[in-house]
């Protein structure tokens, strides 16, 4: 191999290595890219959040009725009972409604959980907004404690006309970090109660 070749090889190898490094970065970039894409299109079923002011501008559509079904599950690692208090509601787009879920901690310990919403069909997710929801923050339940968890939602009147029914589903997951903190906090606060 002459020196010409050797230099050319080295230059090319360097370029190709850079290409590989870039693609490694691209692998990570796919995460935010997919997330942005999903948020814009709503295809991951994630519902939106609006303020009380914003909903003033949505016009009410009293002639249209959309049925909202409610569904709730818990991840297997979370010893909670969790179910909707109403199985379905008939709603008018543009009007604010309140619904609630009921949760009970069947475990022996204080546990913190997070609820992740999902809406089907996913095309409707962009038009399903909440002003308030237990899924906005982590929820703490003492051992044996139970409580109702409210949410307030509004469907945007520009919801595509062919959609008459939507299903709102929540999955509750255990929040390991905060559960542990809550547990430590408790045992530290009540010495001798160990």
């Amino acid at each position: 191999m002459d020196t010409d070749n050797r230099d050319a090889n080295r230059v090319l190898a360097r370029k190709l290595t850079w290409a590989a490094v870039l693609m490694f970065g691209f692998g990570f970039a796919l995460w935010p890219l997919y997330t942005v894409f999903c948020n814009i299109t709503g295809i991951n079923g994630k519902t939106g959040r609006v303020s009380e002011q914003e909903i003033q501008t949505m016009g009410l559509d009293p002639n249209r009725v959309v049925t909202v079904h409610f569904d709730g599950t818990v991840n297997s690692r979370l010893p909670w009972q969790f179910k909707p208090n109403q199985f379905s509601m008939e709603v008018h787009p543009g009007q604010l409604y309140e619904a609630s879920y009921h949760a009970r901690n069947r475990g022996q310990d204080v546990i913190v959980g997070n609820a992740v919403p999902s809406l089907a069909p996913s095309e409707a997710a962009l038009y399903f907004n909440k002003t308030e929801c237990f899924c906005f923050t982590a929820q703490k339940l003492e051992a044996g404690e139970e409580k109702d968890m409210p949410l307030r939602f509004i469907i945007d009147p520009s919801l595509p006309a062919e959609i008459h029914e939507v299903t709102l589903s929540y999955t509750f997951f255990k929040n390991d970090e905060q559960s542990q903190q809550a547990h430590q906090h408790q045992t530290a606060g009540q010495p001798g109660n160990g």
Binding site: M1, I43, N114
Partner: protein, 535 residues
Amino acid sequence: MSSVAHAEGHDHKPEGFLNRWLFTTNHKDIGTLYLVFSLTMFIIGGAMAMVIRAELFMPGMQLVDPAFFNQMTTMHALIMVFGAVMPAFVGLANWMIPMMIGAPDMALPRMNNWSFWILPFAFTMLLSTLFMDGGAPAAGWTLYPPLVLQGGNSFAFAIFAVHLLGISSIMGAINIIATILNLRAPGMNLLNMPLFVWTWLITAFLLIAVMPVLAGGVTMLLTDKFFGTSFFNAAGGGDPVMYQHIFWFFGHPEVYIMILPAFGVVSEILPTFSRKPLFGYTSMVYASASIAFLSFIVWSHHMFTVGMPLGGELFFMYATMVIAVPTGVKIFNWVATMWKGAMTFETPMLFAIGFVIMFTIGGFSGLMLAIAPADFQYHDTYFVVAHFHYVLVTGAVFAIMAGVYYWLPKWTGHMYDERLGKIHFWWSTIAVNVLFFPQHFLGLAGMPRRIPDYSLQFAEFNMISSIGGFAFGLAQIFFVYIVWKTVKGGQPAEARAWEGAKGLEWTVPSPAPHHTFETPPEIKPDMIAHPSNAH
């Protein structure tokens, strides 16, 4: 940097076992190392397949516990994909590409040494997880979270192994590109290159584009498990389906990484034994390139059931079907190459024809899977297992075997035993169809994949499939014997071992001397297969 120069003009090999093999920078020795390594992994991965088929021989749980069964399916796939098929093609590339383009060696010989020697370490690490607490990864070769994160801490070793494999493949790919672009002998223009060189050039670009993406994906798995990130953890705001998108962005091009070099091998062999030039050389090049391009926009056909919107289902369905067009071009070109040729049926030719027919069967089942509404029924059943084993075993593996029989005389200087080769071919072909064809029926009837037990109505087909499996396994032990016998001796091979063979590799003696084309050959039109394409 003058150390390379001393060997100029001699045919001496480095002395001593370590010098010869561990420190080698010679493309032929490294090619041999890759091929031997791949064969070893093929046997190990094959043994795991035998465990799987033995457990599935009858309904009920007989031999292994379900956790171990799942480790077997996962490890079998990882080893066959990354340990057997990919290194075999890199081995063929190392041996043949420099000789095919008239280059003295690979462009970056030291890196070549590294890219091979990483592999044994990577696979030792991967295999050692079998003996660790919690066992080997057991969630399937696709490593889907959250399931894969629920195993033991040995997971970290599996991930590092995947990282190493990725690094090795990327280095191999860089080397191949540099060799092809920089070291062609004068007169060997891009459109004079043998098709095997072309398909490898394209494959190498695919490798550089997607192996790093896999590395990124599994790194996110690693941090999710050990460092509290939530890329794929729904509880923390992540999304497990996201992993599937990242994986298949790698995964679908990966299946073409495993098949494009196979296309190349078959495109070398069919013209030789048909004694006609390859039909449609340029269209073959363009077809390979378009397959590579399209492979980036079809990944979600592996995810039709995750709940995509209708538009997505339609897009990925049609995009997938479009791939059948360039693939069809290739298949028609191969058939046209054989058409009215003076064909003879030596073992490499048998494997190549077997490839064309059976790969096409796999392509058709792929098309059936590409129909989104139908895939809801077939997904995660044995139908998918049948599909990818037709394209990978009777496709990629058959092409590798065809290539080994074809070039073995060049490597060893001996002809293999033709009678034994033909027995191996027919034995393998019958066995592999007994093994995989019934799996189509199992899948259509609804038998799920990756399950150690099944309901009674699947019993007969599973037993037939297992019998085919054992027979196929045995045939490959026979293959090892044939290769061994050829290395040890046999009828001496001529430089042009096959009288219809074209290409520079047949102008050097058999066995090929340790160093070839130290000075670039003077290329005459009758030496190469595609002299007239350069303008």
